[in-house]
Symmetry: D2
Subunit: 138 residues, 4 copies
Amino acid sequence: MAPVTVPVATSYFMVDQQGVVFNMWYLGWFDDAMTQFFTEAGYPYTAMNADGFDVQLVHTEADWREAVRFGEQVMIDVTTERIGSTSFTLSFGVRVGEQERSTGRTVYVVVATDGSGKRPIPPKLRAALESALNEADR
Amino acid sequence: MAPVTVPVATSYFMVDQQGVVFNMWYLGWFDDAMTQFFTEAGYPYTAMNADGFDVQLVHTEADWREAVRFGEQVMIDVTTERIGSTSFTLSFGVRVGEQERSTGRTVYVVVATDGSGKRPIPPKLRAALESALNEADR
Amino acid sequence: MAPVTVPVATSYFMVDQQGVVFNMWYLGWFDDAMTQFFTEAGYPYTAMNADGFDVQLVHTEADWREAVRFGEQVMIDVTTERIGSTSFTLSFGVRVGEQERSTGRTVYVVVATDGSGKRPIPPKLRAALESALNEADR
Amino acid sequence: MAPVTVPVATSYFMVDQQGVVFNMWYLGWFDDAMTQFFTEAGYPYTAMNADGFDVQLVHTEADWREAVRFGEQVMIDVTTERIGSTSFTLSFGVRVGEQERSTGRTVYVVVATDGSGKRPIPPKLRAALESALNEADR
């Protein structure tokens, strides 16, 4: 299965005086999408935490082509772009219907929840990430 | 000294498509104002935490008379309205210049940072709250 | 039908360092719940806007009994509490499962979208509000 | 003068359950910093709007090296990285004291406030941007 598609909420408080969803909320959406992605891929974020692992964002980038307006139903396609030893990259396609409005890419590092730093990607997380790996990259 | 007056930030992301600061941000402002109030009253929030105390909101209410727009400098007057045994009430006046745009009131309960529940208001916090007690209530 | 029950999103960015959803997001939820309520009651917010009407918050109050944590599914029960000539009051019950975590009440004034001020509640909005009127108040 | 340095607010609501400012707020900070930058560079955002111009974000990227915690005073160094015909790029250095915690870069397109699309960068905006151009790029 690649990609995993998840819905996100367009709240009124996200819409600025230009009448469009303000840019920072896309990073909130990417985070919401990652959470749902892990749940659908079989390794929920809360289970990951219980196993002693957490993720930290170290890099993000996003491109906006077309704005999102209040009342539009946004779907996000999440694809695994890269699986490294302690980090991985997810890419996000933000759609309304079939129209892609913006795209993003974020790099996460796996850390221990006890604050002791980086950890190799644990097997359950690796399996979840592999399930949404871009076919072309396999 | 009563009240304590503190500035808060009006960010572009707070302004909605009606062109006014969306209501939820006022609760963020009340919280920012409380933090600055404790600092000015001599018992910073971080010191309170280090001493093992934290505060939890249990009630809030707010009235909006006039909206705040992007670029306006907002000042908040913080007054202690009530000091109980484990809880206290702060009132907030949201001003632009001399014009009061809205008012709020929040009730906080003092809790232990170790999760063991309610605590009597510690002496240092009581002293800070008394410094901004409404003159009429003394 | 009374009340109308709607789900709201618990995003990671709403959770503060106490590990609970920060208070201001409840006002965002009340707004999201109002939007969904109007849709379910047959007069969507966008249709109301197209008819030349908007709503402004003039008063809100909320009580917190129990916190909401990351990953919990929140449902909000929306009930019409009062229908006046130019304003109305909605009440909100914030639940996780059958457990009520907090409650809120907000007063909205109906205004014209052209900025010309207050308007009597239009018939379609009145009908929507009446559909969720508290049985005891009929 | 290059760069322009501006303070931004670290609010409690920005801090997540990892105890650090959640990533999306950095985009809010970049926006706040841009607003203050235009004011200091002599062409405030409200004046730009009054002249019929607005800016839209089309690309952003950010790297996080070290987190920001509650109570830390954040300063942002804003530098003009590129001035094109209808777009420009600002870079942001997020500092606490002398320590750089993260960096960002955003690309903005100049548009007309009447919704008629892209515009060449107007002379007043160009002058403001040139005042913070990276010395090495002149």
